[in-house]
């Protein structure tokens, strides 16, 4: 029997962690993810789980300790946000290239500066090429579900990569909303026990993890790592299919909301997609064919599938919650733009920046985007509109 509850996103992910009872969690607190190590250490202190909780002195150390624990053969996780993720940077690459299936609960917050604590995707987007799988959530329910699925994806023998399960800071992490939880034993059975094929504490198989890679072998290691990320796409879909059987909730690489016959599509990531859905419904009531594509999986990037899903749209707004200062749009626009070109999609494309440093975005803002798309579909994209900030004061 599913459990009806109300919880914040942080509470929900901590609950999933409690149900999974991983072996090791090193962590260092940072807003807005601080509650995660706090809740987990409460579970540990109350004897609810026997996770080894390691308070460390920095995020560089939390990721280093996670790497050590995971290499030893332990199911491992940590949590962080913003500058905490930045401080892990070099170790993120080590975790991925050592092929360690660590889970990271990332509560998205902008990188400094200006110094700000609110939601932005610049932290995870900055780490998009670090070799981690990235899955994003629209709300507390998805944050919980994604975490329940995380180890099944990361630990799959065809993958063996670390995974970042992301949710929007404050908007999701601190908002209490209704949620449907799975029972403890259902989660335990679904996630299963971690039985690593190779691990440092196996005295039958003496090995080194993370040694110097000579040029003669290093490129093959990287190619194998790239293949693992390619393999992850199918594994993510397979795990989602199994998850649907225990939860009734369906997940893919992305969600299509009233997209099938849409002339105008918005593509976005995270909590803003819920707000956009209300805008879609309002416009549909007026007979305007609006649709939404919500990215769930950003790494691996489902380029071909996205281009296919968007193939009959006349105009597309790609919305980024992270500036990449490339003078060429945000990270989602750059990648999706390339995919649309590669697969010969002819739609007009706008790139819109929104929600930086927690700037609010409303249903009305999304309605205006659809108006702009309708105009672009007829008149083409004006040069000054192709890369625009929503709600900016000039």
């Amino acid at each position: 029997m599913a459990i009806k509850e109300r919880m914040s996103g942080n509470e929900a992910v901590a609950y999933a962690i409690m149900q999974i009872n991983p072996d090791v969690m090193p962590a260092f607190p940072i807003t807005p993810s601080t509650e995660l190590p706090q809740f987990v250490s409460n579970y540990v202190a109350n004897g609810k789980i026997d996770t080894e909780f390691i308070p460390v002195e920095s995020e560089h150390s939390s990721m280093s300790a996670a790497i050590g624990a995971s290499a030893a053969g332990a199911r491992t996780l940590t949590a962080t946000s913003s500058c905490g993720l930045a401080y892990m940077w070099e170790m993120l690459y080590v975790a991925a290239s050592d092929r360690l299936p660590i889970a990271l609960a990332l509560v998205n917050r902008g990188l400094t500066g200006p110094l700000n604590i609110n939601c932005e995707h610049s932290d995870s987007m900055g780490a998009r090429d670090s070799g981690w799988i990235q899955i994003y959530a629209e709300n507390n329910q998805e944050a919980y579900d994604n975490f329940v699925m995380a180890y099944r994806i990361a630990e799959h023998k065809d993958v063996m990569l670390p995974i970042m399960a992301c949710m929007d800071g404050f908007i999701t992490s601190h908002a209490v909303m209704n949620i449907t939880l799975l029972e403890d034993d259902v989660v335990k059975d679904f996630v299963g026990e971690y039985k690593p094929e190779h691990f440092l504490l196996n005295k039958e198989e003496v090995m080194a993890i993370g040694p110097y890679g000579v040029s003669n072998y290093c490129m093959e290691a990287k190619r194998a790592q790239a293949q693992a990320m390619m393999n992850a796409k199918q594994v993510i879909l397979d795990v989602a299919e199994e998850f649907e059987k225990i939860s009734g909730r369906k997940y893919g690489l992305f969600e299509e909301y009233r997209l099938e016959d849409a002339d105008y599509a918005i593509v976005a990531i995270g909590s803003a997609c819920g707000t956009a859905k209300d805008a879609v419904d309002k416009l549909r009531d007026k007979g305007i064919k609006a649709g939404l594509l919500k990215i769930r999986v950003f790494r691996p990037f489902p380029a071909k599938e996205l281009a296919e899903a968007l193939k009959s749209c006349k105009a597309i707004a790609i919305m980024d919650r992270a500036e990449s200062y490339s003078a060429n749009g945000g990270p989602l626009a750059a990648e999706l733009g390339a995919a649309l070109f590669k697969y010969k999609n002819q739609a007009e494309v706008l790139n819109l920046m929104y929600g930086l440093s927690g700037r609010d975005i409303t249903v009305e803002d999304f309605e205006k985007v659809y108006e702009d798309l309708a105009d672009a579909a007829v008149n083409g994209v004006k040069e000054d509109a192709e890369y625009r900030y929503i709600g900016i004061r000039e």
Binding site: N118, F170, V176, N178, G274, G358, D360, T362
Partner: protein, 190 residues
């Protein structure tokens, strides 16, 4: 009750406006509603104006923006009336609830022409009498439940009793005072 009720709370850091919003979400959840309770965070410090929000509905809640056109507004600290445009976007069909020992006629001139219902509650007096300390969030919560009609009186007290018994399992001595504050506020809001 309308299909969707949107509430905005204004308080100062440390007064419990966020807690009141979370408690309201909890109690509305307990009667089967779809709920949202969330704070808007700035540079956190004691005494700075803060905002928190509630959405309560029978339908799934998908919107994650702040609330600009609330049905109801709660003002936990009346000094905010001078600094913050608390009635901004407030529906005239709804109302504003102000924690004050003044009477309405003194406050209405501060509401920037707001034409809807004005409710007052002396949460300090109630809290100090019932709890011996100043915690305005319980009286504010009860008053908000009453004016919005989110749930009926008996059900509200029953749910709060259960929830506070759980919350104060290790401090049962404060349970009675909190229940008393809720009951007084329910009666005294005007």
């Amino acid at each position: 009750m309308n299909d969707l009720i949107e509430i905005r709370w204004h308080g100062r850091g440390g007064q419990g406006a966020k807690t009141a919003a979370m408690l309201l979400a909890d109690v509305a959840f307990s009667i089967g509603k779809q709920v949202q309770g969330f704070p808007e965070y700035g540079p956190e410090r004691m005494g700075a104006p803060i905002t928190a929000y509630n959405r309560i509905s029978d339908r799934e809640l998908r919107v994650h923006s702040n609330i600009y056109h609330p049905d109801y507004v709660a003002v936990v600290d009346e000094t905010l009336l001078h600094d913050v445009d608390v009635t901004s976007g407030l529906s005239v069909d709804g109302g504003i609830l102000i924690n004050t020992d003044k009477n309405k006629d003194e406050l209405i001139p501060l509401l920037r022409g707001y034409q809807g219902n004005v409710y007052t509650i002396d949460a300090r007096k109630i809290s100090e009498e019932a709890l011996g300390k100043y915690f305005p969030n319980m009286p504010m919560l009860a008053a908000m439940v009453k004016i919005t009609g989110v749930m009926d009186e008996e059900r509200f007290f029953k749910e709060m009793q259960t929830s506070l018994e759980h919350k104060f399992a290790k401090k049962p001595e404060v349970l009675e005072g909190n229940m008393k504050a809720l009951r007084m506020a329910f009666k005294e809001v005007q």
